[in-house]
């Protein structure tokens, strides 16, 4: 596959230590498109090896607005279903530029390992020094070891090592959209995580037309008034979670965006630092970056102060446990009790619809009306929207906000980028196969 692709699938067997690379057949892209279309195909191909498939969308890391997302596809040991977790922040981008469109991790290691993926090369590295360390310590140590602060990680903390049903695969230092207990799947393979860094280049079949159309789509998006908002508080406000803006204001530092995403979906809370501080804080860990709006709202509903909510979110991110599960299942109402309950949480977090996509994303539009009327119609729209976003690599929260992102222009750009002729019928078939 010559365009919009590294042309490489990495296949790693943790049991034998074998590392192989496959090329990506153009015919397969014509049939499966990319993202979770391909990760689902690869899961089915290697199913007997209980694989974890990490991937990128066909448009990930391009000039298509919000082309930020990668994906983790695996069978959740909690739900028993094949599930797809979006890879957000700048981690999805780094997977592709580290030299691989897809990574198949099969088998199980005898000892703790991590995968170091960089510039088209991959190594299985000893993680015995990282095992037992929390998510923040692990990411910091990997960055220090490699000597690169821009190293991007997928990592588990103690929750994943201990096999908690609510263990998350975290990204860098932060909680993730993982509501499937994928941290437990990593831990069961003795896989502490993956580290990505790369300076690759992605070729484009029709670069001038691709970039021109990207700009036209961006201009259309910028005409939409919802971009006057920023951050998690405004998103919760749009979802009728009242009072969140006032709650967050005293600790809100800045809002930031995933790669090339016009809406800043992340908000940093400063917890032991002046949130109005503009120069670099002299404290090493002044706060927490929040992307999980429902975890935030759930801690607020427990009656926590905003500072304690931030500290609870920070503790969850370090431990590598789903903060929404903690907030809704712990049965505690004080910070000390909540953070002391991580190993004893029991229960279930509901996964909407067919159970394929994360409830980290609201099961309804945000800011804009997509012309939906009934609950059934909304759920069907949401599942298809999530599937399409994760086929092409679109930031899945932004996909729920932005009607200017259409299947039509995603296919148009995919065709300009690849030189293939992907049709609506192809997309329908891929979505049908994923969603059943």
């Amino acid at each position: 596959m010559e365009y919009l692709s590294t042309d490489k699938i990495l296949v790693i067997d943790l049991g034998t230590g074998d590392i192989e690379q496959d090329e990506i057949d153009e015919g397969l892209v014509q049939e499966k498109i990319g993202g979770i279309g391909m990760t689902t195909y690869l899961y089915e191909k290697y199913e007997k090896d209980e694989p974890i498939i990490i991937g990128t969308g066909l448009l990930s890391g391009t000039t298509y607005p919000s082309s930020a997302s990668g994906q983790i596809t695996a069978k959740s040991q909690v739900t028993g279903k094949l599930c797809h977790c979006p890879v957000i922040y700048k981690v999805g981008l780094e997977i592709k530029y580290s030299g691989f469109d897809y990574i198949v991790v099969k088998g199980k290691s005898d000892k703790p390992v991590y995968l170091w993926v960089h510039d088209g090369v991959a190594d299985i590295s000893d993680a015995s020094g990282l095992w037992g360390k929390n998510v923040w310590e692990s990411t910091d140590e990997l960055r220090k070891f490699v000597g690169d602060d821009l190293l991007q990680t997928m990592i588990i903390g103690p929750a994943g090592e201990k096999g908690s049903n609510f263990a998350q695969v975290c990204f860098n230092h932060w909680s993730s959209p993982d509501r499937f207990g994928f941290g437990k799947v990593f831990g069961g393979k003795k896989l502490k995580g993956l580290a990505f860094r790369g300076m690759g280049m992605i070729e484009v079949a029709e670069p001038e037309d691709f970039v021109q159309r990207s700009l036209e789509i961006l201009k259309d998006i910028k005409e939409n008034s919802f971009l006057g908002n920023k951050g998690v508080g405004a998103m919760l406000g749009a979802l009728k979670e009242d009072g969140m803006g006032d709650y967050l204001d005293p600790v809100t530092h800045r809002h930031s965006a995933d790669y090339f995403t016009p809406y800043a979906t992340n908000t940093a809370l400063f917890l032991d630092e002046d949130p109005g501080l503009l120069p670099e804080s002299k404290k090493d860990e002044p706060g927490i970056l929040v992307s999980d709006i429902y975890a935030l709202a759930a801690f607020k509903k427990l009656g926590l102060s905003v500072k304690d909510t931030g500290l609870a979110l920070k503790a969850c991110a370090k431990y590598g446990i789903d903060p929404f599960a903690v907030a809704t299942l712990c049965g505690k109402t004080t910070l000390a009790d909540i953070t002391g309950s991580f190993d004893t949480i029991r229960g279930e977090v509901a996964i909407p619809g067919r159970g394929l996509f994360t409830s980290w994303c609201p099961v309804r539009p945000i800011f804009n009306d997509f012309g939906l009327s009934s609950e059934d119609e909304t759920l069907a729209w949401w599942e298809r929207r999530q599937a399409v976003a994760m086929i092409f690599g679109i930031q899945p929260m932004f996909a729920l906000m932005c009607p200017e992102i259409t299947e039509n222009n995603l296919l148009e750009l995919a065709n300009l980028g690849t030189g293939l002729e992907l049709s609506q019928d192809t997309l329908d078939a891929v979505v049908q196969h994923i969603c059943g």
């Binding site: 000039t63 602060d149 821009l150 230092h173 070729e203 961006l218 670099e280």
Partner: protein
Amino acid sequence: MGIKINALKCTNCMACEMVCSYHRDDGFAFLSACIVAYRAREKKDYFGVLLKEEEVLIVARPEGLEINKIGEEADPDKKADASAKPMLLREGCDLCEDMDDYGPMCIAFCPVDAITLD
């Protein structure tokens, strides 16, 4: 005429870095951008934008603009990040003079209008 950066408006999305590199390389990469989203202080939520012009390196920090003349001795009190890109080896900003349909790409593609023409 030059590029003006409002670091407080910036959301650190890296669009500027991507399209600047595209202007140089005709592909998607981050190899040769003369404008870079500074993001090495992730835990501190400290980010801004670096821009290399012909003779100066502009550091657009949240607290204000810093302009360093290239070739002058660096401030010994300021420690560079291990991951600092070799910005000084890259070509300086040419305002995308060959991109007739766009003007400077970083301005055209900034989703939050944090970059403008001065």
